[in-house]
């Protein structure tokens, strides 16, 4: 029957009809192939909305590049990582109460702080010195790169609160240096950010315990960008708060519009040259990446022990080449993300 109909068409013999059928067929094939090749209009719009700078670093998520886990002694529960301008990598090997110093390729060079560190959680490298926050010891240790331990920057210091009364002994969880060479530390005893000069003198603090804007609940990490904007992981309030250099609250990111919903336990935070905000979200085992408006660009990782997956990630730093170092606590390793 089908044959008869086709035959009838042919016998009626207009070439237009034949060509029409062929055209329709080709059109359908093009549509199918096109639908497979091109992205959906919606996802395409997201990429466009945030494109600026170089194509790869801005419109695509960074990829897993490589990992290292301590060549001399395997890391145990590493919580923090930072790099020096010369490319040295410093890992807070927290479970071993020490710092491991690695070459840029991840080769072990030396350990720092054995015997003096208790529970290092935050690192900053500034002017050839490594600053180590130890909330358990309630100190900020200072090391020269040759391993020599210098006098502490901060030690068993009580914070004087706004009302003039003594607060708790500061438990520094993390440290960053501003462009005007001041030390900003997160203090999980008084739930605030404390600003120190280079001699360790307390200049000011901002924040207090609570859930309102500008208040904190165990702020575990911070980052200061080139404009001296201060990004504070307000961990137990499950949000990132952003302040100006005066400590005035600007905005906050909760991540609730993202793929995984609101952030669970933001810890390490770093901002790259394009202003993209990388937040390590511990309980979702991922690194959330936001633009400056708080729009979620990507989610890196996910639970697991394969390359590119995390098991309780905690700390992050982005070096001057744009490489992203993430401490993968329960996998006892550092993973490096970036662009090939």
């Amino acid at each position: 029957m089908l044959y008869q109909i086709i035959n009838l068409d042919i016998e009626r013999g207009t070439r237009k009809r034949i060509h029409g059928l062929i055209f329709a067929f080709i059109l359908i094939i093009i549509l199918i192939v096109g639908g497979m090749v091109f992205k959906s209009p919606l996802s395409g719009k997201k990429v466009l909305a945030n494109s600026s700078g170089s194509f790869f670093s801005d419109t695509q998520p960074p990829q897993f590049l490589y990992e290292f886990n301590g060549s001399n002694q395997k890391f145990k529960s590493p919580l923090a990582v930072t790099t020096s301008t010369e490319g040295k990598i410093f890992v807070a090997d927290t479970g071993h109460s020490q710092i491991q110093v690695l070459s840029a390729s991840g080769k072990w060079e030396k350990d720092l702080g054995r015997g003096s560190l208790s529970y290092p959680t935050g690192l900053a490298y500034f002017e050839q010195k490594l600053y180590v926050c130890d909330p358990q010891a309630q100190k900020i240790f200072v090391y020269q790169e040759n391993g020599e331990e210098l006098p502490t920057l901060l030690e068993h210091q009580k914070l004087i609160l706004k009302d003039g009364k003594p607060g708790q002994v500061i438990r520094p969880s993390n440290i960053q240096v501003s462009s005007d060479h001041l030390f900003y530390i997160t203090d999980i005893a008084n739930q605030c950010v404390v600003v120190l000069d280079q001699q360790g003198k307390i200049l000011k603090s901002f924040g207090s315990s609570g859930t309102a804007d500008g208040q904190f609940n165990y702020p575990n990490a911070l980052f200061i960008d080139k404009d001296n904007k201060i990004y504070v992981s307000d961990s137990n309030n499950a949000r990132l708060q952003i302040f100006n250099s005066e400590g005035e609250f600007l905005t906050k990111i909760t991540g609730s519009n993202g793929k995984l919903g609101a952030m669970t336990l933001p810890r390490g935070v770093a901002v790259n040259d394009q202003g993209q905000i990388y937040v390590v979200d511990v309980f979702s085992n991922s690194v959330r990446v936001y633009d400056e408006t708080g729009y979620e660009l990507w989610v890196l990782g996910g639970m697991g022990s394969n390359q590119g997956q995390f098991n309780f990630p905690n700390g992050i730093c982005i070096d001057n080449k744009g490489l992203i170092y993430i401490t993968d606590r329960e996998n006892n390793r550092i993973q490096v993300f970036g662009y090939k």
Binding site: I10, S40, T264
Partner: protein
């Protein structure tokens, strides 16, 4: 020509037919819902179904596929839900369950009523082999009508209505069915008063949009044991709370609760105030761990904050092998090989809150199951594992932890005693730590310090037992000379718990004759020591029996099992002084014992201002009636030393040293003779009152080895009375038989000297034949 044309047509026809068949097949592929698994994946169904109406605005959206899909492609960019105005609905979460091949899309907030929604599932979604969805899938539905539920309502509260024992630091909250206008929820519309109608000041009143929960944080702690009434104001005039559409809560919502004694609260509150945070710990459909816990180990999850970085409660540091702690509860995955792999945190704690099914609240999120019942507080909490039932976690745990600790008559067990009471009502934790301990058996102090931390000048031992610390260590008014050395770790070794099993002892002295006493059996401190026969798990005996459990033939050696506990091996310090050593077994055949004298009639159990734990000082005069011996033996013994010549016993005191030797004892400046040199009160038997008999007793001191000490010629090789066996002369032949004292010089007996104090005969009346004439050559004696 015609032929050529026919051939061309035939060829073209075949090509066209083939093309058409391929086209038709492709069309079939598009239209047919059942797709062979070898092709591209398809959506098999959605919920709500396409075109469904009056869909509940709180239900999530489910999308089911025909095969295993790639979880990582289930993103907000591939699953798009839009309302009728084209606005995207943000997702609270998108989770894929491989078991049911279903993805759930949970909207950030409830959907709107009276709205139609379109679900678009895009071809960015791939199966596990990387094949994309065959085509975009579109489905639509309409939500319920606002006429169905026009009013905002309070659908849940914390605390719930009428519950008691609410913590005084608890946040009070109410959950609504609608999105609410946050501005309408304030100190005027969300209020709380106590039972006297005094308003409670709010530290903050907040509204969480995603969970629709309004929370009232009191400015200060609530008053204990007080009823509070909470009101959420509803009013038709708009002065109460209203939803985001401006619809009023039309009447007040009022509920009440009563506080308890404690301030405990939900420490994990921030993770539990809205369900959005469930994903902090759980997966929706599948997870690596039990209870859908989305982490590989629970300990790692808890230690994320409880290492001190997210909480003041730092459990992790004590569990580390570098912590110098000696004992650990067997918590899994701490990385410390000394901590056995046995329990998860949630075996003892309920991370979801401190309330039981009835809303009663308990401290520290405690919750344990003993195999049958769930326990939240009190000693029963620990006894869930350390009680009557061997839970058989490992072959050795029950023995290693000394089995059943349940003993409701033990003094320490009574949690109604306010001194022992704690907020958890777990008396065990007065001495034991929960997670790790500096010392063995999960303790944080040396064993004696644990005891003395209560049994000190607070005098809080049971009635009449006084200040135990002072009894051992003295005070400004009490000097301690001797004690059972509970602090020594090098010489003797005895501890409080060697005599007082801390899980066993009762609040009564042995002499009270109760079924329990403040003593336990040192050979097995799981047994109480009592005088009452028939008491279960008891060793029966009197005070002497008790002392001999250590001061006997077999001092206890350390042992620990489900049926026996000896906390430490008893080690006695070195001594050279005590006649019969530390072993006082013979005391039971002594005259003192048979006369009913028990150890504690002469000795103190803990410490004493006198040597050797003696209750009384040495007697220091012949008229003494309160010293160690003369308090009983005053009638005859004291005056016997009150004679012309006597042993230097009562006028010299404090000379004996436990480590003295004969030569040190008898050095010129240290000469003394005390009652115990001749009479061992622990071994003397009736008819043989001295430790040695005959000359042997005297020669213990009066020997040749004391040459130069003034005893030179009295005994030994120079003394012919002793060196000539044929003489057969005993000391007592010339000296008084009870050599306490004599009216004659040198303790000579009256019958042996004449009126000139010269010896007149030897051993008058005895059978030997010696007379003074027999020694005629030694005229200075034998005149």
């Amino acid at each position: 020509m015609r032929n050529n044309r026919d051939i061309n047509y035939t060829q073209k026809s075949i090509i066209l037919i083939l093309n058409f068949i391929i086209l038709a097949a492709l069309m079939v592929c598009f239209i047919t819902p059942v797709q062979a698994l070898t092709g591209n994946p398809i959506v098999t169904s959605t919920s709500p179904e396409d075109q469904k109406e009056r869909v509940d605005i709180n239900l999530p959206i489910y999308i089911t596929f025909d095969r295993d899909m790639d979880d990582s492609t289930m993103t907000g960019s591939n699953i798009v839900v839009k309302d009728s105005k084209g606005q995207s609905v943000p997702a609270r979460g998108i989770h894929y369950d491989p078991t049911s091949k279903t993805t759930v899309f949970i909207p950030q907030t409830s959907l709107k009523q009276d709205e139609s929604y379109e679900i678009t599932i895009l071809t960015g979604i791939k199966d596990t082999t990387g094949l994309p969805l065959l085509a975009n899938y579109v489905s639509s539905f309409k939500t319920t009508l606002s006429s169905d539920t026009p009013q905002p309502l309070v659908i849940d509260t914390i605390p719930k209505e009428s519950i008691s024992q609410v913590g005084t630091k608890r946040v009070v909250s109410a959950q609504f069915n609608h999105d609410m206008d946050p501005k309408s929820i304030n100190t005027a519309t969300f209020t709380m008063v106590d039972q006297n109608n005094n308003p409670v000041t709010a530290k903050s009143i907040t509204y969480d949009e995603s969970s629709r929960i309004a929370a009232f944080v009191p400015a200060s702690k609530l008053i204990t044991n007080t009823k509070y009434t909470v009101t959420i104001k509803g009013a038709p005039d708009g002065s109460g709370v209203k939803d985001s559409a401006g619809v009023n809560l039309n009447q007040n919502y009022v509920w009440a609760f009563t506080t308890g004694n404690t301030e405990f609260y939900d420490p994990h509150g921030i993770y539990m105030i809205n369900s959005n945070a469930c994903a902090t710990c759980h997966q929706t459909h599948n997870a690596l761990n039990t209870s859908l816990i989305n982490k590989t180990t629970e300990t790692a999850l808890c230690f994320t904050c409880h290492d001190g970085t997210g909480s003041n409660i730092n459990i992790s540091s004590g569990m580390l092998s570098s912590s110098n702690n000696q004992s650990f509860h067997p918590i899994m995955d701490t990385g410390n090989p000394q901590a056995k792999q046995l329990f998860q945190c949630s075996d003892c704690h309920n991370p979801h809150g401190d309330a039981d099914a009835f809303g009663n609240t308990y401290e520290k999120l405690l919750r344990v199951n003993d195999g049958t019942n769930t326990v939240y507080q009190g000693n029963e909490f620990c006894l869930a594992c350390h009680g009557k039932t061997d839970r058989k976690f490992t072959d050795t745990y029950y023995n290693n932890s000394a089995g059943d600790h349940h003993d409701s008559i033990a003094a320490h067990y009574d949690t109604t005693n306010s001194i022992l009471d704690s907020v958890t009502k777990i008396t065990c934790t007065k001495c034991h730590t929960s997670h790790s301990g500096k010392y063995t058996q999960l303790t944080d102090q040396l064993e004696e310090n644990l005891c003395l931390s209560c049994h000190n000048n607070q005098a809080n031992s049971h009635s009449g037992q006084g200040n135990i610390q002072e009894q051992f260590f003295g005070s400004s008014t009490v000097t301690i000379i001797s004690k059972h050395d509970i602090t020594s770790s090098t010489e003797g070794k005895v501890e409080c718990t060697s005599c007082h099993g801390s899980h066993t002892v009762g609040a009564a002295s042995l002499s009270e004759g109760k079924a329990y006493s403040d003593l336990s059996d040192p050979q097995n401190t799981k047994n109480v020591f009592t005088t009452v026969a028939g008491t279960p798990n008891a060793t029966i005996g009197n005070m002497t029996d008790f002392c001999l459990r250590c001061h006997g033939d077999n001092p206890p050696t350390a042992a620990r099992s489900a049926i026996q506990v000896v906390p430490f091996s008893i080690i006695f310090p070195q001594t050279t002084f005590i006649n019969s050593g530390w072993n006082k077994t013979n005391y039971q055949s002594s005259i003192h014992f048979s006369n009913g004298i028990s150890c504690n009639q002469c000795h103190e159990p803990h410490g004493s201002s006198n040597p050797r734990l003696q209750s009384r000082p040495e007697d220091n005069s012949t008229t003494s009636t309160s010293g160690e011996c003369l308090s009983c033996h005053s009638n005859d013994i004291g005056p016997s030393f009150n004679q012309t010549s006597h042993h230097p016993t009562l006028e010299i005191v404090g000379q004996h040293q436990d480590t003295e030797t004969v030569s040190s004892k008898l050095s010129t400046n240290n000469r003394h003779a005390e009652c115990v040199d001749c009479h061992d009160p622990h071994s003397v038997t009736s008819g043989a009152l001295t430790v040695k008999q005959g000359n042997d007793l005297c020669l213990d001191c009066h020997t040749q080895s004391t040459k130069g000490s003034g005893f030179t010629k009295e005994a030994g090789g120079d003394n012919l009375h002793l060196t000539k066996p044929e003489h057969n002369i005993n000391c007592s032949d010339c000296h008084v038989k009870t050599p306490h004292g004599s009216p004659n010089p040198k303790l000579l007996s009256t019958t042996s000297i004449d009126s000139n104090s010269k010896i007149v005969s030897i051993n008058s009346g005895s059978t030997n034949s010696w007379t003074k004439e027999s020694c005629g050559t030694v005229t200075e004696c034998h005149n």
